[in-house]
Amino acid sequence: MTEPLDETTRLDQLRQGHEPAFRWLVETYQERVFRTALAIVQTDEEAEDVAQEVFMEVYQTVGRFRGEASLATWLYRLTTSRALKKERDRKRQKRFGFMTSLFGQNTDNDKPDYDPPDFQTPGTLLETDEQIRQISRAVASLADSQRVAFTLFYQEELSYQEIADVLQTSISAVESLLFRARQRLRKKLPAP
């Protein structure tokens, strides 16, 4: 029961620009933030970039954080929204690269005009099991909200209520997202 009080104290310290409190926040949550970002973006560099942006935003805007949600919920919300934005930007650049390749413009000879589909993230490199690799590939093809809900449920082991808080939606909407994600994955993957 001391956890909420402790978090309130930490939040007060963060609002006052207390450096050790910020260090505690980063060291406590950096792995969760990085892992969640990496489930959405393609490379560990992008995931680290997202994680840094999240903690910078926390540092700069904690004064406006009213504490209606828990710190973890707020961090997951920032992480998923920033990671999705980065992924959308990457896809847009990929499309733009494809368009410029059609017009024969190549600004960088060392790199391809657009990124080839790459699912060999550091996460998947560590995965020896082909089945897990297949699931990762299928999860990457899910719609944004389904992918976030699926990742938060199975990877971060958040409850329906916690996922609903992160996505700022209802529990029934989360159930629906997860149901559709599972259905889609079952269609995409070979039967176990």
Partner: protein, 110 residues
């Protein structure tokens, strides 16, 4: 009807696979993450200090840009209207006569 997904056993196996995916080995952030973050934060603060306070907020920056564009449009339209008003053929001839000291009453056969 797909029996493999309807049977509880099948569902359980899917669920077990998804949970196994969730517990897969995951990489961690590179060491000294906090140091890199701190350095980036300090850089962002330094770059922000160089800007005047009214340019650090997007609304003020957009307002300043709009004002600049409006001023430019005003200047250009002002110049154009003054050029139109001076575009008088009589004034040009008078200026030419003044420059070459030509008397307009002197005829060519005089």
């Amino acid at each position: 009807m797909n029996e493999s997904t309807d049977k509880p056993n099948g569902s359980d196996r899917w669920e077990a696979d998804f949970r196994q995916w969730g517990q897969r080995p995951q990489p961690e952030p590179r060491p000294f993450f906090y140091t890199r973050l701190r350095s980036r934060l300090d850089q962002s603060v330094e770059s922000a200090v160089w800007l005047p306070f009214w340019l650090r907020k997007p609304a003020y920056a957009y307002a300043a840009l709009t004002l600049l564009v409006l001023l430019n449009v005003g200047v250009v339209s002002g110049l154009t209207s003054s050029e139109i008003s001076t575009d008088d053929p009589g004034a040009t001839i008078t200026a030419f006569q003044d420059e070459y000291t030509i008397d307009s009453f002197v005829t060519a056969y005089e």
